[in-house]
């Protein structure tokens, strides 16, 4: 067996799951009462202020991947791997001005799909929907897997049980509360995450003998400190563009742009980006000390909880448990809500039942959230490698960066070029992922996509009628 002895016993694990599960579901029911109509359920009444807006953006971006994959990258690629992951904060920083532009162009918009459909037409929209659906599912799966692994490694509760409970809790409170509950819980979760990460990091730092750790890594794992470690250097831009593609295209971020007040929207994303930046560095730094401390790591995805619990004991394990639980919940709920919005608005309302009432759309969103939860649960069952699942979707999301930017800021972007950019970027990027290496795939996809948009628009410029975007209609609640 590969299992290690756990710091906490299963009874403590179940107790923590019960406490936090009850709190989140209770808050979901409480905040759900505010969602009087579909606009309230999907976009929290478009009236979210700076504090809640920044907190929800930061908490959503602190995913299980931040606290589990960033240390895993540091473990595999050293200092550069840790820094490479932190470049994802540029995604939030760059989205700050984009969010203002989005609000100006589509004041009554609901989803990123709205923008692509109206700006580029049905072909680009179809490609975009495939890309965002695959990516959203991959993101959900990595979080379900991370949750199951975390609970197993800290408490001994079997992976399948822990993963199932986390998904159930998140589906339940998103179902009851919609975006009101998501943003409300995100605020509480972001406070817990920040306090938890700072506390764990500070205590660990105070207990480590840094010169000894440095000497040990330099002797036994020299490549982790090598400033020219090839894989880590290449993954720098790969991870950066992956993070940009995630933020620029996904409805998680667009729905927040629509939900936050216009005056606060840019500041909220800037603040979230700056608050997020140090978190993967702190988490990754903890991982670098694993080998010098004699912590045996079998699965790199479990590095952070194992090292923290090794240094801090049961109290540290409980803290890590709470922080990662909050990170998971704050991202899974956001993704469930935003993806349900996208499928309700762009597929059910636009393609299946254009005359659907507010009540019917709300019911459709409910079924989609449950369906997404069940699909995620089924795909999570094989206990995938987090990096494998996550980075396979990198070329897909990176192919949307330039079509979205050119669509927002250029008057003459050619819609066919935008579609071709997403198609060729995705296909060639995926080819590179499987035939060359994961750490160049997203970079290649971004380059191809950028060249196709720029050359296509230069050769065959088109004229955009911006009024069509501003005429996207709000729902009429019945």
């Amino acid at each position: 067996m590969l299992e290690k002895e756990t710091v906490l016993n299963p009874a403590t694990g179940w107790l923590l799951l019960a406490i936090f599960g009850t709190i989140w579901i209770g808050l979901g029911v409480y905040w759900g009462r505010k969602a009087k109509n579909l606009e309230g359920f999907m976009l929290a009444g478009r009236n979210v202020g700076l504090a809640l807006g920044a907190a929800t953006a930061m908490a959503t971006w602190v995913t299980s991947n931040t606290v589990m994959v960033a240390p895993s990258l540091a473990m595999r690629q050293g200092v550069w791997g840790m820094l490479a992951y932190s470049t994802a904060c540029f995604g939030l920083l760059l989205f700050a001005p984009m969010a203002l532009r989005i609000k100006n162009l589509i004041p009554n918009g609901y989803t990123s799909g709205d923008f692509i459909r109206v700006r580029y037409g049905r072909t680009a929209w179809s490609l975009f929907m495939v890309i965002t659906s695959v990516y959203s599912m991959a993101w959900l799966v990595t979080m379900g897997v991370a949750g199951g692994k975390l609970i197993e490694v800290l408490t001994g509760i079997p992976y399948e049980y822990g993963m199932s409970v986390i998904l159930f809790v998140c589906v339940a409170y998103t179902l009851f509360g919609g975006l009101f509950a998501v943003i409300g819980t995100d605020f509480i979760q972001s406070v817990i995450i920040l306090i938890g990460v700072v506390t764990v990091g500070a205590v660990i730092l105070s207990r480590l003998d840094m010169p000894v750790i440095y000497q040990s890594i330099q002797t036994e794992q020299p490549a982790l400190l090598d400033v020219f470690m090839p894989v880590a250097l290449l993954s720098l831009f790969n991870l950066m563009f992956f993070g940009w593609g995630e933020v620029f295209h996904n409805n998680v971020w667009w729905s927040r742009a629509f939900a936050i007040r216009k005056k606060a929207v840019s500041k909220a994303f800037l603040l979230a980006g700056f608050c997020w930046f140090p978190i993967p560095i702190a988490a990754g730094f903890i991982a670098l000390s694993a080998a010098p401390l004699g912590v045996n790591i079998i699965d790199p995805d479990t590095t952070a909880p194992l090292v923290a619990s090794h240094i801090l004991g049961p109290v540290g394990a409980v803290l890590v448990f709470i922080v990662v639980f909050c990170s998971l919940a704050s991202s899974i709920d956001s993704l469930l809500a935003a993806t349900a919005d996208l499928l309700t608005e762009d597929v059910y309302k636009r393609l299946i039942r254009p005359q659907a009432s507010d009540t019917e759309l709300r019911r459709s969103a409910t079924f989609i959230i449950i369906g997404l939860g069940l699909a995620t649960w089924a795909i999570c069952w094989p206990k995938w490698d987090l990096l494998l699942v996550l980075y396979a979707s990198g070329p897909l999301v990176a192919s949307t960066i330039w079509p979205i930017l050119a669509g927002l800021y250029w008057d003459k972007t050619n819609p066919t070029a935008a579609s071709l950019a997403m198609l060729l970027g995705s296909v060639i990027g995926l080819w590179a992922y499987f035939e060359i290496a994961w750490y160049v795939a997203t970079l290649i996809s971004t380059v191809i996509s950028m060249l196709v948009v720029v050359i296509g628009t230069y050769l065959a410029p088109s004229k955009c009628d911006w009024r069509r975007l501003s005429q996207v209609e709000p729902y009429n609640p019945q």
Binding site: R76, Q77, L94, R101, P222, A223, P230, Y409, T446, V447
Partner: protein, 132 residues
């Protein structure tokens, strides 16, 4: 006893890290422990002990370029048990010229994308939904 994974006598680890798992015919006897070692020579002239304990696997990272040799064995009060088969691991990173070219490409795309957002924002921030 020997390695479950990776399989073979010589394996490539071109990212400088590798996960090892090992197997025995029976459960770990009381008082016994697994010992996992690395060496730069196939004769294990200067072995470095990377793990000692009850786990049946470990993850090795931070390997510089070159060839490494790994083995695992059981040790109890009577001493070291029979050594398992030696596994050779070759680490051959991407060459620096290719890394430099790809880094340069990445940097150009980075500048273009950041320039696109900042330039677009400066041109459109006062125009509301009007054309860029």
């Amino acid at each position: 006893m020997g390695f479950d994974s990776p399989e073979g006598e010589v394996v490539q680890a071109n990212e400088g890290h590798l996960r090892f798992t090992w197997a025995t015919d029976s459960a770990l006897p009381v008082g016994a422990t697994y010992v996992f070692q690395r060496s730069r020579s196939p004769e294990f002239m200067d072995p470095v002990e990377l793990y000692r304990g009850p786990d049946k696997g470990t993850h090795v990272s931070g390997l510089a370029g070159g060839t490494y040799y790994f083995r695992v064995y059981l040790e109890d009060a009577s001493g070291a048990g029979p050594y398992g088969p030696i596994l050779a691991v070759e680490v051959d990173y991407v060459d620096r010229a290719r890394v430099t070219i790809l880094m340069l490409v990445g940097f150009i795309v980075f500048l273009c994308t950041v320039g696109m957002v900042i330039g677009g924002h400066l041109r459109t921030r006062s125009k509301g939904g009007a054309p860029a």
